[in-house]
Symmetry: C2
Subunit: 384 residues, 2 copies
């Protein structure tokens, strides 16, 4: 096991009706910026629950944070935070709202150019506005980590940052708030955390048995609940297991002390940029082919995946690995998520994808830093 | 799944040489009370590593905290904290040192009678001295939770408390510091976290698949490393997996949103009080018989335990449950830990044990509150 630091101070309130606890979590004198997206929280009643719980508080609303939150949108909220002296940002929604609110929280207390947050590794940040989150879309794990991804459409950029100052002070996860999600978000909400896990789990076998066992528990839970979730089940425990699985996929607990890959995400980001595919769709397209292309390097972990996640214990190792990848593809198909570029009507321009992927950094990808331009082209050809 | 709150702000630094990081964790001006036990940390070099890392700090030592830390001992440290205006308590050792230091940290900032901490449910605490921990004995999980057990031998009492103010600010876990532990502590260091898990896992099956999967990962890890640990292996990864398993057994992650039992611990505490058995020994004696006596109530979870932990998937459910309990006993035997009272030369006085157990509370024990005096006597008879 590698040395690691684990730190996650987010207070999670999980379960039915927990939004009512907001008043216990926020100082009575706090001035709140309520951030949300396009209004789905009004249609599903979450907004009304929040409004009820915040009676007596000074609340300013900032609606309209888009999917893949945009720098220019967020900077408007930063101005409001400064001019209104906001004490707490309450993000209500999915990963995009929470990610965007993390950026707002840090930018509002930073005297330099806010773009530094996303681009300047040596910039020093000392303070952020307190952040709380009410999650309504399990997928990204942002509610219980310190990372965020922000787009800047005006210059065609999409950047990530991590900073411990933006851990939410609290996160409220009520599985009932997910009942009204549309099918496409349910699909992405299974695939996204599944691949979050595999980016950390399907790497090098370094005998990290707690992390591996936890990762397998998250994967098996997602497999068990996947079809019911996509079919819109209103069974509370199924929703609860899904929601808690998605959080644990990216709150650090399975990724500490182990190697990380993230090549699927990096290639996937370029496919989203080039062809407008959903993030979850790109992951379902890239991951299986990347595992095939890297199967020699990942064989020990792929075999654990085959045995412990897919129950393929009685096969020859090579067969078990092949079968495990096929079973994963079949699982995605069972959710209605296609796994080939052609299925989406796309003929990939691999040269262009690779050029963009390595534009700012010539470093190879993957836990062994061995996924180079040639390997990416192979993966894309296999995914065509 | 039940509603839950999860909050664990402990910063864990895990791995080889992490004690060197102390200077990054403690303010340069902090006045430190270094608490430890009987001096084993001097024999194994941990004390010297700490001394090296704390060069330049003002450090006062408080040695001699005993196993099952005693109120009267700890109150002497409380006086030192007050008179010397200590800013941080650095606990170096196992669960007793860390538990005792939690009590010191809270008592030193409390104006009332410190015994309130352990006995007065409605006492209000607003502050504690900062606490850091360097763990050298994996077992209790105290390094990453907010609970502690303190004895007061002068009046024959042993009480527990929990308070979020005493979460360690940081905990350093270097598996290499465990290499010199004696066999008995290694044995207890496997049994104790194993039963911590089963107190939370072998309860009601409420379809909590993340918590159950995580619990199974901890149990399987302890089973896998158990014999090597007890045999004194110097293999780093085996020690690391053991240490991280023991922490996760009682840091909250497997116990949130599920029913808890803890009857084995409560009966075990009385056996320690009456016959001087090690805590771990009492757990190994009580747990298997309690599972048998409660097998109807615990059948769904015992069956999961049989399938997912012991791999007994092909048996009839009743047979699988019986076999799983036998396999657990055989596992304890393989560690050199005996599981019957007679094996320790004890003839139990069940009337006395039961009288003490229900002296202060007539509540029954267990997740269904159905383990009454009669059930405890049955369990003790079975464990004879």
């Amino acid at each position: 096991m590698h040395n690691f630091t684990y730190y996650n101070p987010v207070k999670v309130l999980f379960g039915k009706g927990q939004i009512q606890q907001l008043g216990q979590l926020i100082s009575p004198n706090a001035k709140i910026l309520l951030t949300y997206g396009g209004g789905s929280i009004k249609a599903n009643g979450v907004y009304q629950q929040v409004e009820q719980a915040l009676q007596g508080y000074k609340v300013i609303e900032f609606a309209g944070i888009e999917a893949n939150p945009d720098y220019d949108t967020l900077m408007k909220a930063v101005e409001i935070c400064r001019s209104e002296k906001i004490d707490l940002i309450l993000a209500v929604g999915g990963g995009s709202i929470i990610d965007g609110s993390k950026f707002i929280a840090l930018a509002a207390k930073y005297n330099g150019d806010a773009w530094d947050i996303l681009t300047k590794a040596d910039a020093i940040f000392t303070e952020a506005i307190d952040l709380g989150a009410i999650l309504t879309l399990p997928a990204t794990g942002s509610e219980m980590n310190s990372g965020a991804v922000v787009s800047r459409r005006s210059i065609g950029a999409k950047q990530a940052f991590m900073n411990p100052l933006v851990f939410p002070k609290f996160a409220i996860l009520d599985p009932e708030t997910t009942y009204s999600l549309p099918k496409r978000q349910l699909q992405n909400g299974i695939v996204d955390p599944f691949i979050h896990v595999t980016e950390q789990y399907l790497t090098t076998d370094i005998n990290s048995s707690i992390q591996d066992g936890f990762a397998e528990a998250v994967l098996k839970t997602l497999i068990n609940v996947g079809q019911d979730i996509v079919n819109g089940t209103q069974d509370y425990d199924t929703r609860a297991n899904w929601m808690w699985a998605a959080t644990n996929a990216l709150n650090g607990i399975i990724g500490i002390g182990v190697d990380h890959d993230w090549a699927t995400h990096m290639i996937g980001h370029e496919l989203t940029a080039a062809y407008g595919l959903d993030h979850g769709q790109t992951l379902a397209i890239v991951a299986p082919q990347l595992w095939r292309q890297q199967s020699n390097n990942k064989s020990a972990k792929l075999l654990k995946f085959a045995h412990n996640v897919w129950g393929l214990e009685n096969n020859h190792p090579d067969v078990a690995i092949k079968q495990a990848i096929i079973k994963t593809e079949e699982f995605f198909h069972s959710l209605g998520v296609k796994t080939k570029l052609a299925d989406y009507g796309i003929t990939v321009d691999a040269e262009k994808i690779v050029a963009n992927l390595f534009k700012y950094s010539s470093s190879n990808l993957g836990e062994h830093q061995n996924i180079d331009a040639t390997a990416v082209k192979e993966i894309l050809a296999m995914a065509q």
